[in-house]
């Protein structure tokens, strides 16, 4: 399926990239999306990104919620006029029969408070299941998009469940030799859920958050946008872990989100400046 998507989007002018090697909550955090979405240059890319969402962990007991899963990201700037048709073409390419499945574009305004980003679009439903997030970015890092980029984020596990017609993500066939998704990831989900929710040392996490924030500022002081951005991602993931541990109160939550947003915005601003782009 990934290879089919790579072929499909490569044929349509996308560069095919590899995952970013850091923990992140969504493919949107990949520099190929955030930083490259800024500025006037044409940019078309597609890649797989493993995502970590500690609070979505279900100890391997939920048929489709996971704290670690894979997204397929496509970013197209400027957004092409036939983006919906291109997207539907990609679904057909991976085997979704649209005469038997109900595909719907359901309003979902995307916002990432930690990236200072928002866009309008939909969650795309296939028979009631959200399989893709479809967004026209309007702002990133607090900057207006000039021009607007279109972002497609496919939930690979969910699409695979459709195509293989299985009820439970852990029953997905990983190859033709009987290896299932569960064989590979079930124990990982159990252990990571336990660690995320119950074990992770909160004092170290708070410390990690502070250090990442400090390092981000250190990098910004040196005018280095990319290392600063990486530290912002690190702070964001650490914040997510703290959330899963339930140690951030409602009042503090906003303050932490604001802190991460400031870091991410700072990195985006440094990137704009480095490229000589005006806000």
């Amino acid at each position: 399926m990934i290879l089919t998507l790579h072929d499909y989007w490569s044929d349509r002018g996308c560069v095919i990239l590899q995952p970013y090697d850091m923990e992140m909550g969504a493919g949107t955090f990949h520099t190929a999306t955030t930083l490259r979405a800024l500025g006037p240059d044409t940019w078309n890319a597609a890649f797989v990104q493993p995502c970590r969402r500690p609070t979505d962990g279900r100890y391997g007991k939920n048929p489709n919620r996971l704290q670690h899963y894979y997204q397929y990201q496509v970013i197209l700037k400027p957004s092409p006029p036939d983006l919906q048709e291109l997207y539907l073409g990609s679904l057909a390419a991976i085997g979704v029969d649209m005469t038997r499945h109900d595909i719907r574009f359901v309003e979902d305004d995307w916002e990432s408070p930690t990236l200072g980003a928002w866009g309008l679009g939909w969650e795309v439903w296939c028979d009631g299941m959200e399989v893709t997030q479809f967004t026209y970015f309007q702002q990133m890092g607090g900057f207006d998009m000039k021009p607007v980029a279109g972002e497609l984020t496919y939930g690979l596990e969910r699409l695979a469940m459709y195509i293989q017609d299985v009820d439970n993500v852990y029953d997905l066939a990983f190859n033709d030799a009987g290896v299932t998704y569960g064989d590979i990831f079930l124990e990982n989900e159990r252990q990571m859920s336990t660690w995320n929710f119950e074990v992770a040392d909160t004092a170290s996490l708070f410390d990690l958050f502070r250090k990442a924030a400090a390092e981000c500022e250190n990098s910004l002081a040196a005018g280095l946008a990319i290392p600063a951005y990486e530290q912002a991602i690190k702070a964001s993931h650490t914040f997510n872990l703290l959330q899963a541990r339930g140690v951030i109160s409602v009042a503090e939550r906003q303050a932490y989100i604001g802190r991460v947003r400031d870091l991410a915005k700072g990195a985006c601003a440094a990137w704009m400046e480095k490229n000589g782009w005006a806000a």
Partner: protein
């Protein structure tokens, strides 16, 4: 010859919730643009689907009316400077002016304009000025932030006046005669001839343009599917409209989910089905939630929808599995343990944490019982305000409000029961907010209270406590059920009173249209709890004057809606010192009944006459008014009537028998009328005048024991 106009604005999927308002806005903006040119359509129809916004204007003329504008100038005999100024202003020559009755006029003939020209200007103006709640930029043009904004990318404009294309171009989109049918059933282009064939041509391409038709189809088909399965659809107009806004060719389908999920509270199942998946749910013949759902697809699938139903079933199963995960996880932690986490949640930056609030509410709820404001034997009993699905307590035999003594022990005395009631009120208050930190409320905030009620019952709290946890937010707005169970009333009242007094204390009171903490709604809740349960609660013992005045205002609003005359409420309020709402309203109701009678109307007239005289003449000193003369018969009769009525009215008011008080006053009506007929107040003898004014003052005072009649209108 009148002609119809068709406008179709085709875009990517418009959010369902925005479609109704978009239709209204389109009609309004269109009428306004045409109005500027002096045009009006015979009728306007608008339609919305996910992918198009449509307007059909019927009976437009082919061109606008020719207009003759006349501008008055100087007199023909005026000095040349005046004429020159006028010619400069109008840009005309002297020969072009018309002279009438010695005055010069500039007359400009404006010929009619072709309606197509007006439309060609109107369409871009409408599109650029469209008030979408949220709009966006897209595509290469968005390199400039000034590029066209629309709710989602705009792709096509069909604009036909009769059969003629109205040529428009906006942001690179040229109007045409072609549009597209259903995204999957009919992906190709179709050509529209005119407004007359638009709806049917699209229907042939699997698009039902009329949202009302789609709604009716969903409503009827979903109901029928449930009936065919031996079930009853739980009606939900919001879902009907939303699904109609998500489909161009709606196809309702019924599916089943694993009955094991019915162990999750039915409200949770219904909520997740509705909010997350936009499904209807069904009940069985006994009224219990059934393991069935109705989803609305946008296609007629080649397999009859089997795969669609199966896919939707899986999604719902995952959602319900998640809900069950939260439910079972939450049940592992007792509510009192959850409640300790409330110390981490800020209620308001000036008012501490939710835990602080819980402490105050618990104290207040106990106080309400201990003060005898909430008393066994008052209220309307238990269990009337329920939202259904009351969880059973561990011991179903446990009566909600009665302490059950150990077998063989002495029967409880009223005092003991009262202590138990106070304990329960405090206990319920301490648990009431604990569900705010549960996973379930984190996922579904609208379940606050309700889910706490389930958890309280599951951990073996008495029914009365679980019910109070569940219902303590009630009543939420007008029309919501008002709790009647005593423990619930105590907690509900304490919770709302605490919010109001705390926010007022921090000077965060509502003003104008701003009421961010919904204190007006809380005050209405307090009023409803007191009145519906007949609570004798002197509010002044719990709140200060500022809050009392706030309640008075809210009471007027609430009673006005209930048909009580606001001037009568004012008349009673004006007496001052009344903080018992039950007594206050009893007085108002008696007054309203009384002023509707002939006696009441005439007494009011007599009162007003007396009050007017007193206002004009002033009230003399009592000393000056000692009657040193033989009163006339009507005067003596009025004195006698007052001597009789005053103690009767006072006694009746003391006994809160306001009808009796009104009846006592009614006895004054005839003597007052006779007095005004027979006696001159403004007598030449100052002693008589003073005594009679004094008498009128006494009449006024007697009437004021019931209400300030000067506030009564009419």
């Amino acid at each position: 010859m009148m002609t119809d106009f068709l406008l179709e604005l085709r875009s990517e999927e418009i959010p369902a919730r925005m479609q109704d308002k978009a239709r209204d806005d389109l009609a309004r903006l269109f009428a306004a643009e045409l109005g500027k040119a002096g045009l009006a359509a015979g009728s306007l129809v608008t339609y919305a689907t996910p992918r198009r916004l449509v307007l059909i204007a019927r009976d437009l003329p082919a061109e606008t009316q020719a207009v003759s504008e006349e501008l008055k100038g100087p007199k023909a005999s005026a000095p040349p400077q005046a004429l020159e100024g006028f010619l400069r202003k109008t840009g005309l020559t002297r020969e072009a002016l018309t002279e009438r009755d010695g005055v010069l006029y500039a007359i400009t003939e404006r010929p009619g304009r072709a309606t197509t020209d007006v439309l060609a200007e109107a369409i871009p103006a409408i599109i650029r000025g469209f008030p979408w709640p949220k709009s966006m930029r897209w595509g290469a043009a968005s390199a400039s932030t000034e590029s066209l904004r629309w709710v989602r990318p705009l792709h096509g404009i069909v604009a036909l006046f009769g059969e003629d294309l109205v040529e428009v171009e906006i942001a690179g989109i040229r109007s045409g005669v072609a549009t597209f049918g259903h995204r999957f059933h009919h992906p190709g282009q179709i050509t529209i001839g005119s407004a007359a064939d638009y709806v049917e041509k699209l229907r042939a391409c699997h698009v039902i343009v009329d949202q009302d038709e789609r709604r009716a189809l969903i409503r009827e088909r979903a109901t029928a599917l449930a009936a065919e399965a031996g079930l009853v659809l739980v009606e939900d107009e919001g879902l009907v409209a939303e699904n109609a806004g998500l489909t161009e060719w709606p196809v309702p389908l019924l599916g089943r989910f694993d009955p094991d999920f019915l162990s999750v509270p039915p409200e949770v199942i219904q909520l997740t089905a509705r909010v997350n998946q936009k499904y209807f749910v069904c009940r069985d013949a006994e009224g219990a939630l059934a393991n069935a759902f109705v989803c609305t697809a946008n296609i007629e699938a080649t397999d009859g929808g089997a795969q669609i139903v199966e896919g939707n079933r899986k999604v719902l199963a995952a959602r319900l599995s998640d809900a069950r995960f939260f439910y079972e996880t939450d049940l592992k932690t007792p509510l009192e343990t959850q409640a300790t986490k409330l110390a981490n949640i800020v209620f308001h930056e000036k008012l501490g944490t939710v835990a602080d609030k819980v402490d105050r509410v618990a104290t207040l709820a106990r106080w309400l019982v201990e003060e005898g404001i909430i008393l066994l034997g008052t209220g309307r009993g238990t269990g009337e305000a329920g939202g259904g699905g009351v969880p059973q307590a561990a011991s179903p035999a446990e009566a909600p409000l009665h302490h059950r003594p150990a077998a063989g022990g002495p029967p409880p005395r009223a005092g003991e029961e009262h202590v138990v009631l106070a304990d329960m009120a405090e206990r319920a208050a301490r648990l009431a907010k604990a569900d705010l930190v549960t996973g379930m409320v984190g996922e579904f905030p609208e379940l606050q209270g309700l889910i706490g009620g389930y958890y309280a019952a599951a951990q073996g709290e008495p029914d009365a406590v679980a019910e109070a946890v569940r219902d303590h937010y009630k009543p939420v707005g007008q029309g919501d059920a008002v709790p009647a169970a005593l423990v619930t009333v105590a907690v509900a009242l304490a919770d709302k009173l605490d919010s109001i007094t705390q926010f007022f204390g921090a000077d965060l009171r509502p003003s104008g249209s701003k009421d961010p903490f919904a204190l007006r709604r809380s005050a209405l809740g307090v009023i409803a709890l007191i009145l519906d349960n007949g609570l004798r609660f002197p509010l002044g013992t719990a709140v200060d004057q500022g809050v009392l005045d706030f309640f008075a205002d809210r009471l007027k609003v609430q009673q006005r809606e209930a048909g009580v005359r606001h001037d009568l409420i004012d008349a009673v309020f004006a007496l001052g010192g009344e903080d018992d709402l039950v007594r206050l309203l009893a007085r108002v109701h008696a007054l309203q009944a009384f002023v509707a009678t002939e006696d009441g109307t005439n007494l009011l007239a007599g009162y007003k006459r007396a009050a007017n005289i007193l206002k004009k003449e002033g009230v003399p000193d009592r000393e000056a008014a000692v009657a040193s003369y033989a009163p006339e018969p009507a005067e003596a009769a009025l004195i006698a009537a007052l001597d009789a009525a005053e103690p009767k009215a006072a006694a009746a008011i003391e006994a809160e028998d306001f009808e009796g008080a009104m009846a006592a006053l009614a006895s004054l009506r005839a003597p007052i009328d006779a007095f005004f007929d027979d006696v001159t107040v403004n007598d030449a003898d100052p002693a008589k005048r003073a005594a009679r004014l004094q008498l009128l003052d006494r009449v006024r005072a007697a009437v004021h024991t019931v209400a300030d009649f000067s506030r009564i209108e009419g």
